[in-house]
Subunit: 337 residues, 2 copies
């Protein structure tokens, strides 16, 4: 805030007052005030004449006027697939905290996981002359509309072609899930994944770790929904099964529910590990062991990258390690291992 | 969008081009462009001279400039306790959809349930010359900072002193919960509430409905946390109990967990009703019957009230009825009733 205040004081010393604007425009002070307080009662010719005169006299009537003089909006655009997904909520919290410390605010737009909506959101944000932009899980990637000097910072699982980004080490997450199932003595493994690079990376880490220990696994492709987790359980229980890693907490919730429906004890007979550690994980029954994305820290980093871009610095991608949060669904180590 | 585009065309007809601004300022076109594209290479005296000249010539160089001339920012400030609470996510969705249809964007700030943070969020929003403001579950209520012609629209359970608001009929929610427990043949009731007016209104509806049918109930004061729901169960199970209404889904989750821990069957032995119907309700085990707040519609209404306020119209408060969403935790009607 200090440099902002300093420049405000400097600019202020050469400003005319509202009195002077009113005198030169030949209108009352009340009229000038109405113009800059957005009243509809001043006709548009008078309004434009007063605005132009005020500006030429250096009168700073509003935040918009001040920003125009400084050439900055103090706004960062943020595009999120869906604000109600808890993981994104934590990211937004991190973004707001860092930007707030720099006197900047968040202009929010949701893409609702649709490419056309995401592009419209970006265009809308650009109309507000933002100083920077952050996009979480972009669908269109580097095809996102931009304008001169504005670089989007991506929080993304799809790094191809995006130089400025924050991402999770998904392969490491798969490794942690395998180690937790191995630690609790499991021998018959399954992976419940989904389409896309995120799931492929999680599966690679899971597979490599199991194979190093001499184990194989079966796989089911879901779609991150609870229902697909239930279908996965139904299919996988046709064979021997005592350790399941689901690539998302919602799919893990479906796995738990299908196991309950068959009277299978968790974790005694089957252990389950989820992914994300979203708000639901500790509320499931039993409480779900999950691989945590450090969402707050990832958001904070994205905001810092955006501030760096604004001052012309470029950044290497930042890759965050996930973390195992062990709860009841995997249970204590088994004696058999 | 049509009226926006129309006024843009009208204003455009009397605007000077960048060439004219450069000629009169005695600088190159590239310099004018750099000024309005926020480059740091132009010294601040030259910058301010060019901005003032451009404005007096009617040159519209950027969104900020256009907004200054029109006297509107096309921004609505939004203060939310916590974006990651799913109920607020749905409200934000409703707000964004309505504002988007009017070419307006959301300037987001979180209060994190702290009065000082909420006030700072409001001040920050006002610095951006927003056209309106919406605040969800305000802590400071009508003490929120404002500026001339800006009225905050409150989405709130605490209506005292707030003329422009959207709220839920919490008493009706309590009535629906009682009816659902009565419908499934329960006779030994408990209310798990919390401090504040929301819980008091829910309890009143619950109490009146039960008493009309000749039933009494016991009560426990929690704090909307899962843990307080677990404590409630432990205490309430000291007496006869077969129907619980918890004033929030998280407390209901705690009630379910404590019942599981004691081997009590849900809904056969005890039925449970939650409140909010947040995203977690259908994921709990068993799936939780809950009283739904129509969060999307409430957000959409708040946005419409805000647009009304901007055009000088005032509004009566809008009160939304909640809705019962029956799931496994109350079960089918019992023959005994």
């Amino acid at each position: 805030m200090t440099d902002t205040e300093a420049s405000s004081t400097k600019a202020g010393s050469r400003n005319a007052g509202i009195r002077e604007v009113a005198r030169q425009a030949g209108v009352s002070i009340a009229t000038v005030s109405r113009v800059f307080n957005n009243a509809e009662v001043v006709n548009s010719e008078t309004r434009e004449r007063i605005v132009a005169l005020a500006s030429s006299l250096g009168y700073e009537p509003s935040a918009l006027g001040r920003n125009l003089v400084r050439g900055r909006s103090y706004l960062i655009g943020l595009i999120v697939p869906n604000v109600s997904f808890p993981l994104y909520g934590a990211m937004i919290h991190g973004i707001e905290d860092v930007l707030g410390r720099h006197g900047m605010s968040v202009l929010l737009a949701s893409s609702h996981d649709a490419a056309a909506t995401e592009v419209r959101a970006a265009q809308n944000i650009l109309r507000h002359a933002v100083d920077g932009g952050i996009v979480i899980n972009s669908i269109v990637g580097d095809a996102l509309p931009t304008q001169r000097q504005l670089g989007w910072v991506h929080v993304t699982p799809e790094p191809a072609g995006l130089p400025c980004r924050v991402e999770l080490d998904n392969e490491e997450g798969g490794r942690l899930a395998a180690l937790e199932l191995l630690r609790t003595g499991r021998q018959h493994f399954a992976y419940v994944g989904a389409k896309g690079r995120e799931s492929a990376d999680r599966e690679r880490g899971f597979a490599l770790t199991l194979r190093k220990m001499g184990f194989d696994y079966r796989r089911f492709e879901g779609d991150y929904s609870e229902e697909s987790g239930m279908r996965a359980s139904a299919e996988l229980l046709a064979g021997p099964l005592d350790g399941v890693f689901a690539a998302g907490d919602l799919m893990a919730a479906g796995v738990l529910r299908a196991l309950h429906a068959r009277g299978i004890k968790i974790p005694d007979q089957v252990a389950v590990v989820g992914f994300d550690d979203a708000a639901i994980a500790p509320l499931l029954y039993p409480r779900l062991t999950s691989i945590r994305q450090p969402a707050y820290a990832m958001g904070a980093s994205a905001a810092e990258l955006s501030l760096n871009l604004m001052s012309g610095r470029h950044n290497a991608p930042i890759i965050f390690p996930p973390e195992l949060v062990a709860r009841e669904s995997t249970g204590p180590p088994q004696a058999s291992f």
